[in-house]
Symmetry: C2
Subunit: 328 residues, 2 copies
């Protein structure tokens, strides 16, 4: 079923059919109607591939996520909602979580798809990607913010220092930190916020109280256990994201420690799960869906040519007090 079939059936040339499909000027109303009728009858849909090969325009934007975890999923929701009224469509690709092979898959995909299958891309991959692609790209929460690539993130520094100040305000002084990965920009910013708030309060930063949790639940359990079994156990823990906070909860539960009585806990992200834990997690809210929407917005402007190639959208964060932290 190609455009040729339609043309033959309607008794016109393929050029005319193409014009009808794309609503171009220069075809008589009667012809247009007849062709449209045939299209409907045959249930013809033009091939996205052929179209894009020729016209270099597809009206789809691609979103590359490293893995389907709660954060990216929320981003997906945000983007897929934001995109509905833009006239674009969304195509998602996942690296499949195979962290090993993933060194350059974003770049590979980007160049395979760009210029042909997608008109623009949103990256939700932690690792860095050179902006040198042939299509506009917006990065969410990227490895590094500079490099002329438009980015969307939230105010990680302010959020982390708010969290830390909150714990300080509750009287805590020995506050442990479970970081993400040192190679991630967001992780560094959160650590900086933590350090800065401590310094500001005149509390010395104790490197022994800091661990790397890797932003994942399972990989945070052991580092958390280490902190929680110290003779001078910290009275509060700040986890660099909610997934890590879940890991802390696992570790605490395994040790028979209760939160927040034995140890206070604050997370970061406010993924949907964090409202459901026992106790519900006090955390720093990041407007994740809005970040997705902002990325779509930015990208659309970029593709229209009306965008600025190095705008950095930074959304505010704020504290959500729930039940996982209490005064000393």
């Amino acid at each position: 079923m190609t455009i040729n079939d339609v043309a033959r059936e309607a008794g016109v040339s393929v050029a005319t059919v193409s014009k009808v499909i794309n609503g171009r000027y220069g075809v008589a109303v009667s012809t247009s109607e007849r062709v449209q009728q045939v299209i409907d009858d045959l249930g013809y849909e033009s091939s996205l591939v052929a179209r894009s090969l020729r016209s270099h325009r597809t009206n789809v934007i691609g979103i590359l996520v490293a893995e389907f975890e709660p954060f990216s999923t929320e981003i997906l929701k945000g983007t897929s909602q934001a995109i509905t009224d833009t006239g674009y469509e969304l195509l998602a690709y996942s690296g499949g979580g195979r962290a090993g092979t993933s060194v350059g898959w974003e770049r590979r995909y980007l160049s395979r798809l760009s210029g042909t299958l997608i008109d623009g891309a949103i990256l939700v991959t932690p690792t860095v990607v050179e902006p040198g692609g042939s299509v506009p790209v917006v990065a969410i929460d990227p490895h590094a913010g500079p490099a002329g690539m438009p980015t969307v993130d939230s105010d990680n520094f302010a959020g982390a220092s708010t969290a830390t100040r909150y714990l300080l305000g509750l009287g805590h002084r020995r506050i442990g930190f479970l970081g993400g990965r040192p190679d991630l920009e967001s992780s560094r910013q959160r650590e900086d916020g933590y350090r800065s708030a401590l310094a500001e309060a005149g509390v010395a930063v104790d490197p022994d109280l800091m661990r790397v949790g890797g932003y994942r639940r399972a990989s945070t359990v052991e580092p958390a256990r280490e902190l929680l079994t110290r003779p001078d156990r910290p009275t509060a823990l700040f986890a660099a994201n909610d997934l890590s906070a879940l890991g802390v909860m696992d570790a605490a539960a395994a040790l028979g420690l209760t939160i927040p009585d034995d140890v206070s806990l604050v997370g970061f992200d406010n993924i949907p799960e964090s409202a459901l834990t026992t106790p519900p997690l006090t955390t720093i809210h990041q407007p994740i869906q809005q970040m997705g929407a902002a990325a779509v917005d930015l990208l659309v402007h970029l593709m229209d040519g009306s965008g600025d190639r190095d705008t950095h959208v930074r959304l505010p964060t704020d504290l959500v007090e729930r039940g996982s932290a209490r005064a000393l």
Copy 2:
């Protein structure tokens, strides 16, 4: 950056470059190495679009989800993991949750992509799709199971009757039901399971105790409130999926009722969130990720030609006892 650039740079024809890329026979080792070197230097990646237009084979399978909610997300995880060693790649499309327009978007997408961009498709869309596409299609938890379309689902009937029997075993007799949508096969099967277990126990089915929740959290709150404010309030509720169960929890909390003391609750699906609620949700476990993996498996066989066009994989369900139901 096209294959032409590579050819020119390497001093060979495009045909030769193509052969090198695809590892075809008939090119001297020395030439092959030289071309490969140029490819590496230039960072060339062949255009998926042009390739697929010509060869009608792309090695990517598409997955269409209606919306990014927990269930589809779990499916996505399952598929994207299962696909890693198959040599295929995964592209996901979302209808964007615009329920209104969505009447035939799956069909539209399918015919636009099939034969060109994807070699096969997995459908995670509740509405029906005619199997008449030009590529193999596997449906997960589809509207209707017959029609010669390969499907993967779980044993909804058995799961629902297990859940109901469990509540009966706890001594409950007035058990309310919050259904999905009457047009969904899985929803009907769960209702049937509920009815059957009641009948088997000699308990009359009371239509007043049955409501439609629509499988979503927000849309279940009101129907749940209706049931919970009846003078003869049911002592237990069975929600047709976990999202609805969350809605029940919302309604109960708003009414000042505690679960499980005032009313017992059992869900269905065992999405990750359900382990985190307060109290943790007792639910019917559906091996969601495995369902995704099974779909990949089925589809790959179908594409290899070694598959059977109307196999229906049905995975077992089982009860996960947590804290939301108790004996009367």
